[in-house]
């Protein structure tokens, strides 16, 4: 089904948070102010690697209007944070490991005074060698960035006998693929406001993707009980993984507690670039062999991942890349080795797609190159090797049966580009070349084996007479509120005004796990299925007590509880009357674990979403510009709950991938960011994006599947790059191996050709 407004019917709905957003009335957390608030700023290192000889804050502290200047000496608890390993210091004490490292923080009465105070803090550094590539950091003589050395994490997955496998191959392709340091570029930069209470509690208003995790990390830094902290974390002006880790929170929290006053922080774009996470740049070498029949026999992969100065989720990202380097293909001999390496570069971390984007670009590139060797259609080569319904997962783990890859393989043919691919285009401008390419992928949801992945939720009839649900999830634009409203109206046939949805506030919601890893829609769907029965039972028992209506005649509806009386439906009691009659027993909660494979492969997934993409590009050989003319996605993710949200996730993910492929790279030179703002870091504008982009949603799940909707938050971003690169090859004959695509590589240089130097670099 092409998913759009007309095919969605009544489920294509205006979002509950829509009106506030289009009128500008919504207060984001960075829009909030409190009386007597101070302004917080962080002093960051100016050098990527250095020993700190001294920090002198005395002059800054004397400056009129400065209330506090804090350094590592002022941290009551752990001087460290990091979701997986807390190896990032809140404030550096002896060593600076990257340009964005924090040295001190200032609270002042105005932003201008805070800015001035930063310039008055004197730090003496003794510069050390900058390890600005993983290769350099891996040299035996390289200085150690962390006590265990410069390797954060290694992976090693093998099956079969790789050497034996290659002996059976007729063709072998070996290629190295390089991916950029992509920036999330949420429009709302990191920020928030931190408000201490007289009772000693602290309320944190700052975006995150997991409020309870922030609370735990902050309690560790502040050396207090978690319950002393309240984290309010929605609404959020975009995140894409980038606000999953702590950012402003440690500084705002410490300053607010020291000053006993609200402290506001809001990073400038440059500070966000410098201090924030990026997608891991990876160098991926793949050696893949097929036999004469086109069966992939052996697949050897080496992944080198630049995790930057600190770990955050660099380890799990590498696990994910390792698993997805095998993809949806059935291959007997596999050897995947990965290394995530600390460097003095900016921190790499969690980002939509989570390591899948990089390896899928490489893997799909291998399939296209092998098809060329075999002289067969690359789509047929995929079909020949694609997993079947009951096959094991990429790491040999049991997975929920899925024929998603076969479904999306077939569905790509619904795009008009599929037929167009077979026709020859004629252009009046000989320097314009067109090509069409396609790729597919399977992408895991949930955190994977071995990582606690708790889920849960709560439902109640509240005192105001609303059916209220509470989830520890966040709304960063993806449409969670809309999804919940649709699910609740489906379950309870009530009006939207009968609902109250509570998220993003640790004082009000139960732990539901993170809003990451394409897991949230699945979590709330499962939770509501679990909660519905007990909640209705409690509700109807209460109504029966109050009205005497038999429980079996009752149902929920608009405004209240309805009963079938003499074959007519009548309103028995309104929700608001029910609410006034005491609601203590009308509350149910659930907690459970996200579905996980029983087989012990760390990070291995159990639930998958599949996608295929077909894209048409136009390459201008004079300028090297690649313009995407159209791109269509097929997505197999089970039932569509919220069509507007679903389409939006795929379109948005896809265009983020367009940037990853064609224009985005947070460039660093000698450990320093060169691209410091949106004048040089180029996210796609409306002009870079095709007007034609459609999403084909495949809702059918295998018989007996009870897992419901799979997530679609990431999958739109994972398969476009190889499709574009394949289209570029068709247009120009050039295989691209490094992203973003270097225009110079695609430029015909007529003058050089005249002089006999027209070398087509990169042509293989």
């Amino acid at each position: 089904m092409w998913l759009d407004r007309s095919s969605s019917g009544e489920k294509w709905k205006v979002r509950p948070d829509g009106e506030e957003k289009v009128t500008g009335k919504l207060r984001y957390l960075t829009d909030m102010t409190f009386p007597d608030m101070l302004y917080g700023r962080v002093l960051r290192s100016t050098v990527p690697h250095a020993r700190i000889l001294s920090i002198d804050t005395s002059v800054a502290l004397e400056y009129p209007g400065v209330i506090a200047v804090l350094t590592h000496r002022d941290i009551p608890g752990l001087n460290g944070f990091g979701i997986s390993i807390p190896d990032q210091p809140v404030f550096c004490d002896a060593l600076v490991r990257f340009e964005g490292d924090a040295i001190a923080a200032v609270a002042a009465m105005t932003e201008e005074i805070a800015e001035k105070a930063l310039s008055l803090i004197k730090v003496d550094y003794e510069p050390l060698q900058t390890l600005d590539t993983p290769e350099l950091a891996l040299q035996p003589t390289a200085p150690k960035l962390h006590k265990d050395g410069n390797i954060l994490h290694q992976t090693d997955y093998q099956r079969g006998d790789i050497n034996e496998g290659f002996k059976q191959c007729t063709y072998v392709i070996e290629e190295t693929y390089i991916t950029p340091r992509q920036m999330h570029t949420y429009l709302e930069t990191e920020g928030g406001i931190f408000v201490p209470s007289q009772e000693g509690r602290l309320t944190v208003y700052a975006p995150t993707q997991h409020g309870y995790k922030d609370r735990m990390q902050l309690a560790r830094i502040l050396a207090c009980e978690e319950e002393q902290i309240r984290v309010i974390s929605s609404p959020i002006g975009g995140s894409f993984g980038g606000k999953d880790e702590l950012n402003v929170q440690p500084y705002g929290a410490l300053l607010a507690l020291y000053c006993h006053q609200p402290v506001k922080m809001h990073y400038s774009r440059w500070e966000s670039v410098k201090a924030g996470l990026k997608r891991h740049p990876m160098e991926i070498t793949m050696k893949t062999g097929v036999n004469a029949d086109g069966e992939i026999i052996a697949h050897q992969v080496q992944i080198l991942s630049d995790t930057g100065a600190y770990s955050t989720l660099g380890g799990p990202v590498l696990n994910f890349a390792t698993e997805h380097a095998v993809g949806p293909y059935q291959i007997p001999h596999v050897d995947v080795k990965g290394k995530a390496v600390y460097t003095n570069n900016g921190i790499s971390g969690e980002f939509r797609g989570f390591g899948g984007n990089q390896v899928i670009f490489a893997l799909e590139g291998q399939l296209d190159r092998l098809a060329e060797k075999l002289k067969i259609d690359p789509w047929e080569l995929r079909k020949k090797n694609l997993r079947k319904l009951n096959d094991l997962g990429p790491m040999g783990q049991r997975v929920v049966p899925t024929n998603g890859p076969e479904q999306v393989w077939e569905a790509v043919k619904h795009s008009p580009l599929w037929e167009k691919k077979k026709t020859q285009s004629n252009f009046s401008k000989p320097w314009i070349k067109r090509g069409i390419g396609a790729a597919l992928a399977m992408h895991g949801s949930g955190l994977g084996y071995g990582i606690p992945d708790h889920a849960g939720g709560l439902i109640r009839l509240n005192k105001e007479g609303k059916i209220e649900v509470a989830f520890g999830h966040e709304e960063f634009g993806q449409g969670l509120l809309g999804t919940l409203e649709i699910l609740l109206q489906d379950h309870f046939c009530c009006d939207k005004d009968d609902l109250s949805i509570v998220i993003g506030d640790t004082d009000l919601v139960p732990p539901s796990g993170s809003s990451t890893a394409s897991r949230t829609t699945n979590v709330v769907w499962q939770a509501l299925n679990r909660l519905k029965g007990p909640f209705l039972e409690a509700l109807f028992t209460k109504v029966n007590e109050l009205t005497g209506c038999p429980v079996e005649t009752l149902k929920t509806g608009p405004g209240g509880i309805w009963a079938d009386v003499n074959e007519e439906e009548e309103l028995v009691i309104t929700y608001s009357e029910l609410g006034k009659n005491g609601v203590a027993e009308l509350e149910c909660s659930t907690d459970f674990h996200f579905p996980v494979t029983p087989d012990p492969f760390t990070g291995g997934h159990y639930l998958y979403t599949s996608t295929s993409v077909i894209a048409e590009v136009e390459v201008n050989l004079l300028t090297g510009t690649v313009k995407v003319i159209r791109m269509d996605h097929a997505v197999a993710a089970g039932p569509v709950i919220n069509p507007m949200g679903y389409v939006g996730q795929i379109e948005g993910g896809s265009v983020m991938a367009l940037g990853f492929t064609l224009s985005e790279d947070a460039m660093m030179n000698d450990g320093k960011y060169v691209t410091q703002n949106l004048d040089t870091y180029l996210v796609p504008t409306i002009f870079d994006v095709p007007e034609e982009q459609y999403v084909h949603a495949i809702e059918e799940l295998p018989d007996g599947d009870s897992f419901g909707p799979r997530g679609v938050g990431e999958v739109g971003s994972v398969a476009l790059a190889p499709a574009i690169v394949s289209a570029i090859k068709e247009a120009t004959g050039i295989w691209v191996t490094k992203l973003p695509v270097n225009r110079e590589l695609l430029q015909k240089t007529p003058f050089l050709t005249l002089w006999g130097e027209g070398v087509e670099e990169g042509t293989k």
């Binding site: 407004r5 205006v14 009128t23 002006g237 948005g652 703002n677 949106l678 504008t685």
Partner: protein, 165 residues
């Protein structure tokens, strides 16, 4: 330990009094003549529908109308606003939702919503200047407004609707 009370009076001492019209009401405010309009709107007047993001005029999140024309308020200084009519997102719809806003609501023209006020302000200016604007005209007019969430898919649906007379 590095903290103490070092409080001062921070009221601005300025001889400059900025007078302009904001969303139909006249405003007089003492500010530094070089203070950025975005700070006057967001901080001094607490109208936070206008957003702040790149601060160098590349993203359009802070777009406002100055005498009816789209302008990045991060690149506009107080003295440049003297006597001007300025409209922010808060002035676009006073009692009912504007058709441009309605199109964003119904077509999925936003997700996180942070770029949305700027987008809507830009479109209002373009349509006011040319009610018969074509798709290409509107695209041109939105080339200074970045959206990171939608991939412009929903925004294209909005533009189709606004140009499909």
């Amino acid at each position: 330990m590095s903290q103490k009370g070092n409080r001062i009076r921070v009221e601005k001492e300025t001889e400059y009094l900025l007078s302009f019209e904001l969303n139909g009401e006249s405003v007089e405010i003492p500010v530094d003549p070089s203070r950025r309009l975005v700070d006057i709107i967001r901080t001094d007047l607490d109208l936070t529908g206008t957003k702040i993001s790149c601060e160098i005029g590349r993203c359009g999140a802070c777009m406002v109308l100055v005498n009816g024309k789209q302008q990045n308020s991060c690149l506009t200084m107080a003295y440049q606003c003297d006597g001007k009519k300025i409209q922010t997102i808060e002035g676009i719809s006073t009692d009912r939702i504007d058709p441009v806003q309605q199109a964003f609501l119904e077509e999925g023209g936003f997700q996180c919503g942070y770029c949305t006020p700027g987008m809507i302000v830009s479109l209002k200016a373009l349509l006011k200047e040319n009610p018969k604007a074509t798709m290409e005209d509107l695209k041109e007019g939105l080339s200074g407004n970045l959206c990171r969430c939608t991939g412009y898919g929903g925004i294209y649906r909005v533009l189709r609707r606004l140009t499909d007379k």
